[in-house]
Symmetry: C2
Subunit: 420 residues, 2 copies
Amino acid sequence: MPKKNILYAQSGGVTPVINATACGVIETARRHRDRIGTVLAGKDGIIGVLAEELIDTARERKRDIAALRHTPGGAFGSCRYKLRSIEDSRAEYERLIEVFRAHDVGYFFYNGGGDSADTAYKVSQIGARLGFPVQCIGIPKTIDNDLPVTDNCPGFGSVAKYVAVSIMEASLDVASMASSSTKVFILEVMGRHAGWIAAAGGLARRERGEPPHVILFPEIPLDEKAFLARVDRAVKRHGYCSIVVSEGVKNPRGQFLSDAGTRDAFGHAQLGGVAPVVAEMVKSALGYKYHWAVSDYLQRSARHVASKTDVEQAYAMGSAAVKLALQGKTGVMPIIERVSDEPYRWKVGEAKLARVANREKKMPRRFISRDGFDITPAARRYLEPLIRGEDYPPYDRHGLPRYVRLRNQLVAQKLAPFSP
Amino acid sequence: MPKKNILYAQSGGVTPVINATACGVIETARRHRDRIGTVLAGKDGIIGVLAEELIDTARERKRDIAALRHTPGGAFGSCRYKLRSIEDSRAEYERLIEVFRAHDVGYFFYNGGGDSADTAYKVSQIGARLGFPVQCIGIPKTIDNDLPVTDNCPGFGSVAKYVAVSIMEASLDVASMASSSTKVFILEVMGRHAGWIAAAGGLARRERGEPPHVILFPEIPLDEKAFLARVDRAVKRHGYCSIVVSEGVKNPRGQFLSDAGTRDAFGHAQLGGVAPVVAEMVKSALGYKYHWAVSDYLQRSARHVASKTDVEQAYAMGSAAVKLALQGKTGVMPIIERVSDEPYRWKVGEAKLARVANREKKMPRRFISRDGFDITPAARRYLEPLIRGEDYPPYDRHGLPRYVRLRNQLVAQKLAPFSP
């Protein structure tokens, strides 16, 4: 059997550890040179695959590939581009197969969220139908932690750690000054439809009364009166109130509290700036001086405070994809299976892409306290192991992390141009 | 000579390392038990001193005092409260002396910025006049780096490191996605009147063309046309544009781009939210999709990514204050003197408070590029040593930093209540 190449592509929003997955793919593939050719990577994700812009990772130095493990962002580029149904996007699916055929691609690894799992699943179907079967493997990645079947998603743990550490630190600041200055601090975090990231802020509180005092979840329509009462109580009891708010918080009519009005390529509303809205709500009702922060991309690129658990899982998912490929699997995704909470143990499992695709895992209601402003002990048991351990990037002598920039050299094109 | 106590108070906005200074004061004082009594700390700063709410640090465990070195925020509380002239605030100055007398305070250490240096200076004058001479020592602290005489201010280096690391990481994220998604990223940082913090963002760029591509300083009135041209050029050349903007940026008419309209206790305008203003400017003129982050208190509490240089200097300033006190000095402040840039060497110096008080050190114009959107090599030479080295806090097994919370037990009050 001739050696086939792997084609790896990153999809959607990047994470602090998606490159750790790429590192796992490439390093593991390089250990199986007898059976795997090279690892090609789509430049800017699936868009580069369609355009036949394929990066040859064999031309990268071993140490640069190793450095992917600690480099945030997406080293080959990513994109938000969703292939529609096979009927609607037939030409694109056929183009993918054409590219695979031209570059001896036997394995297609698509590293992303639910949309990407769906695409990988469809590609696995069409390849067989077009007489060029490709083993399609999805690799989980999303800071939103909203993929089903897998216990958690690589990328989430590090964002969770960033949020928990950040609200803990900022709360120490606010607590110091509250007697004469800012009394309410609001940290806005990502999480469009699921409150996983906001929930992680709750981990900063180890004892009753500690911050954060309020968490606003997208799952719970904002009861303004109850919220303000809770803020006021926290200020009166502790001198200040520390709040984590998800960008996806909605009012009781189901509207986002802050909707910038624009939409991304997937048709999702582009959000941002709910923190100032909540701040003004507090100020006008209670009169407290406030400060707010919007961490935005900082939270999903903060490799400097990554979770060691997360880095290890992200790497393991990449490595497992190669092993699944070598076992002849297709239409599957490696997943994280939790063996136990305490001590935390996990192992690599496997799920059919059809079960993962296009399904969003909401946070269970039992993870949110009855009043809707806090996490429960069950949530804490689930979340806490995911932020465990530190995994610092190396720093140079100038005090900055040594993040790698790859050469990203393209292989020669063999096909006619394609316009999607 | 009977042993006198030290009274230590934190003032103004806290920093990631102000507690390292407190640690330096207390640990050094404890090594001179033959000559120094205890270290008392004002609860919530000078307000607590006026209210005779004094924390007895002798009742804290040795290991908790040691943990101050890696704990952000202000461990005893701080406040924004400025004593006016001796004529206008005579009762308050007299009250301070009364409290000092009642609690055997021979040394008053005021840890803050320019306003605090001014207060410490005035207290040193009035003590002698009222027949109770107290040795008054200012200890520098401000993330704004705007104190004169000292080469740099403890607190600034860690904020600078946070900003440089954050813009470096977020830019890797944006670069990954720019071909199909966000093209402009804006990070808003603190710095009301001086662009030191914004300038630190420039350290993230090691080679030409690397991010950040634009820095907006409070020192340079925003030339909107030139700014937009520069953003457009960066997007066309690099695919994206990464921007660091100071909260204090003004338009050519001298108005803050975003002024929340409220004022703090010192009468300074409370700013916030210039990033979305700049983002909309870009969007409406150039049409690029944007994201923005406002790091706010996160930047000044991010002890998890502190500069080792900064931590060492903060500690050294606290330690030096005790030594100056033991040498009989008053009306002085320990300062950082730079011996050389490369290799970076510094030593502890000493300045008269009268020279430090109420003077703001602006960033020299020669630190800003001619076009006003970048830092110069001179700025880089100055800034770069200040973010050198990592000094991580210890983490617990749950993945969170072990920040200490002190007991903060007050000594018994001896005086009648006082209302300022």
